[in-house]
């Protein structure tokens, strides 16, 4: 991987240096101006994709941040005489602060995803435009920057703007590449696929979204600052028009919003094709053509140009390499392709260390005390208490709607209890966000598997390993070990959609194990499996316990409950009605009545 990173850095640097030499050798001013526009759109589109491409939070408000930067530079230079170059970082800061303020409110509201987030950011653009228009920032007539001194870095007057645009574009693409391969980027991709699961697997979703939003807006603000000098005359109508949000969305989608280089390719294609329609009536036509292109791309190439080309390229290369040596190494392993068969032993071995009972073995590992949870008028949990010792398997049973899944959701932090506490080795979990609970060693599976749809099986598990507190460098090797442990060694490179139900259930389990939990919550992992698969799953669960992990499992398959559980806890209508050794608890008259009806109780 680091080899590739070096190649990308070298490539970006040589393009940057090469292009920066152009003004010195006397590039005609017209080309400087045209290339500046290309850089301008590369920076804007790429910055947009850092939040909207990676995390899938489509913003129609990029114009607001671009405009905030533009007006920051315009006001500071024209009204306060501040040197132009000094205003650029300030333009970025103002926009980033604006995004942080908006994000701090908006990202707390779960329902504001998808199209509602898009509409909200569009509304924010209109509000900002109204404020700028009606206050001293603009006041109506617009701001002239013709008298502002622009330092000459090269001989030609347009050269400075050109160089600034180039620098920002190169830095932005570099930033997007680094973010895409960082923890932050992996977390953002997971948020794109399933935000709730990402949080439960340990991704600090709120912080990540806010960072990406601020970074994206800050770059847009700086692009706005440079643009203010380029146009020389800033008006509300032009600045906050629909052009910026329309073009950045189109460029990113055309090129591939989830690929670091996608927006760049999209920006080059669109800016160049728009150039063909400049001036007079054909500008109207140009806009219509761009809009039509956007519609066609969304309908026909939903992934964008760059990912499609990259897929073709990989397919072609793998066909070639098969022809050469008839052996395919899983490309997902990258340069760690030397994955040895003893990976499983290593991964499983280290789990034993991290999950072995620590300190006082007498104290409960997980202790739920008097948990209450209501949804509107429905009381889902009533004073539920439950303890789990290290290495213990507790079966949680009860009729449908008795509160089993709610209890798991409360322990894993998806819901906050109305009253009561959850202690893990003495520390209270009940007021912590889900990603911290995951990092403290509580891991869960979902009854209906919820893998991250755009990540391979290996990456799904590696993500859980990284955000569960593991080492990012060895995460993929460990993940491969866990996939082998759950019998999925052959499916490393598969996308979740290619797996059958049985395999997805085991992927869910591998993902939970990769976080090296001290407590694992299994929500009906066996449902829908055939008897032979249940037998192998029971063996797997016994193996997990042998490593010292405590298991709380919700199950309807009675054979598994009786075979696995050290203890069972029976829930009915949110209350614990029995607990104890499996066969005794199941013979409890109360339990029999709940399960089979009154007649059988006697």
């Amino acid at each position: 991987m680091s080899e590739r990173r070096g190649a990308v850095a070298a490539g970006l640097l040589s393009v940057g240096v090469g292009m920066s030499l152009l003004p010195m050798i006397g590039l005609p001013a017209f080309y400087e101006s045209f290339l500046y526009l290309v850089f301008h759109w590369i920076a804007l589109a790429t910055s947009w994709s850092i939040l909207s491409g990676y995390a899938g939070y489509f913003s129609f408000g990029h114009g607001a941040f671009f405009g905030a930067g533009m007006y920051t530079t315009a006001t500071l230079t024209a009204s306060y005489g501040m040197p132009f170059l000094l205003t650029l970082p300030l333009a970025g800061l103002v926009s980033a602060a604006l995004a942080t303020g908006i994000g701090a409110v908006v990202f707390r509201v779960k329902r504001l995803r998808g199209e509602l987030f898009g509409l909200l950011t569009l509304a924010i653009t209109f509000v900002l435009a109204t404020i700028v228009l009606n206050t001293r920032i603009d006041g109506g007539p617009g701001v002239y920057l013709l008298g502002v001194h622009v330092p000459r870095l090269v001989a030609s007057p347009t050269g400075t703007v050109y160089l600034l645009g180039l620098t920002l574009a190169v830095l932005t693409v570099g930033t997007s590449y680094v973010v895409g391969r960082s923890r932050l980027g992996l977390g953002l991709l997971a948020i794109h696929d399933d935000e709730d699961v990402a949080e439960v697997k340990g991704v600090p979703t709120f912080r990540y979204k806010l960072s990406a939003f601020a970074l994206s807006a800050g770059i847009a603000g700086m692009a706005g600052g440079i643009q203010a000098i380029y146009v020389g005359y800033v008006t509300v109508g032009e600045t906050f028009s629909i052009t910026v949000p329309l073009y950045v969305v189109l460029m990113s989608i055309l090129g591939g919003a989830r690929h670091w280089l996608g927006p760049t390719v999209g920006a080059i294609i669109i800016t160049t094709s728009l150039y063909a329609f400049t001036g007079g009536e054909s500008a109207v036509l140009g806009r219509a053509v761009v809009a039509l292109a956007m519609i066609l791309v969304i309908l026909l190439l939903p992934d964008g140009v760059v990912p499609s080309v990259a897929r073709q390229w990989r397919a072609w290369r793998s066909r070639r390499s098969v022809a050469v040596d008839k052996r395919v190494t899983p490309s997902v392993l990258g340069s760690t392709g030397s994955f040895a068969p003893d990976g499983r032993a290593r991964a499983a071995g280290s789990v034993t260390v991290s999950t072995a009972p620590r300190g006082d073995a007498q104290a409960a590992l997980l202790d739920c005390r008097e948990l209450w949870k209501a949804f509107g008028g429905i009381q889902a949990l009533r004073a539920v208490s439950l303890r789990l010792d290290p290495g213990e398997i507790v079966g949680l049973v009860g009729p449908n709607g008795s509160g089993k899944t709610t209890l798991i959701n409360v322990i894993s932090g998806h819901y906050r209890p109305d009253r009561g506490r959850v202690d893990l080795r003495g520390g209270d979990l009940s007021s912590r966000p889900a990603h911290e609970i995951a990092r403290l060693g509580v891991s869960r599976t979902y009854q209906i598997p919820r893998p991250f749809a755009h990540l391979t099986a290996l990456d799904n598990v590696a993500l859980a390993a990284i955000f569960g507190g593991g080492d990012a460098r060895t995460a993929r090797i460990e993940a491969a070990g866990w996939l082998e442990f759950t019998g999925l060694a052959a499916r490393l490179a598969a996308l979740p959609a290619e797996l059958n139900l049985h395999e997805r259930k085991f992927l869910e389990l591998a993902r939970a194990l990769a976080a090296r939990p001290r407590v694992i919550l299994l929500d009906e992992v066996l449902s829908g499996l055939n008897p032979a698969e249940i037998t192998s799953a029971i063996r797997l669960i016994q193996k997990i316990r042998a490593d010292g992990t405590a298991i709380l499992f919700v199950e309807h398959v009675m054979r598994a409950v009786l075979e696995l559980s050290d203890r069972i806890v029976v829930l009915n209508e949110g209350t614990v009605i029995a607990s104890g050794a499996p066969h005794e608890a199941m013979r409890d008259p109360h339990v029999v009545r709940v399960y089979l009806g009154k007649g059988h109780a006697a």
């Binding site: 908006v106 509201v109 504001l112 509000v127 109207v284 761009v290 956007m294 969304i298 309908l299």
Partner: protein
Amino acid sequence: MPSLTLLGQSVVSGLLAGGLYGLLALGLSLSWGLLRLVNLGHFALAFLGAYLTYQLGTAFRLAPWFSALLIVPVFFGLGVGLHVVFVRFRVTEFTSLLVTFGITVILESVIQWFWTADFRRYETPYGTSSTRIGPLFVPTLDFLAWLTAAALALATWAWLRFTYVGKALRASAEDPEIAVAFGVNHRAQAFVVSGVSAAYAGVAGVYIALISTLAPSQIWAWLGVVFAVVIIGGLANPIGALLAGILIGVSESLTMAVATPAWAPLVSFSVLILLLVARPARA
């Protein structure tokens, strides 16, 4: 502090402006609530209807209600056609926003191509007529628009509430798969909804031509306000759309009376933002 008459007059004009907001919101609310498609193109369609009314009225001296008779069926067909594309390419709630964003830009360009970017005003003999109630003036056309909005909102409500088609549509919006299992042909009814929604845009367009000044860029001016109305009114809730339209209309015109007109856009968008953030469960 403005006089009581001025305040009263601004309440009346806000009330009436709310009718047009509600009329535009009605079609949007139907397709978003029942088809899970967010149709930004609704505004462009309305303006296309407005320009057609203008063209037929000025060049061919065609009375606006006659234009409406032509526009409504044609737009119904356009709505059905749009939905054919959506179904063919399996457009989701989110991509519908992007696709119709593109459609809006195309229609804006088409309008600008034919009618230029200049402001146009459709002058009619009854354009300035009004009725006097005490010290307050009620403009006839605005009042007609309001009556039309109220009548359509009521009719749509009754359609959804009492007919088989309406019930089937509401069931499909709740859970398409289950509805299909009970024999509801969602696809056939979806075309009807899309057509009705576009026809409503056409009706709104006729009134936009009669009441306001036309310019291609005005398409975007309505967008934020009407979306605020749709979300406040509740999706697929015709009466809610009308009431929310009135609420926004009145608060906007009061802002214009108390502060300056330039601040008016701030009201609707702020209400929308506050509502999205504070009460997101409605949408």
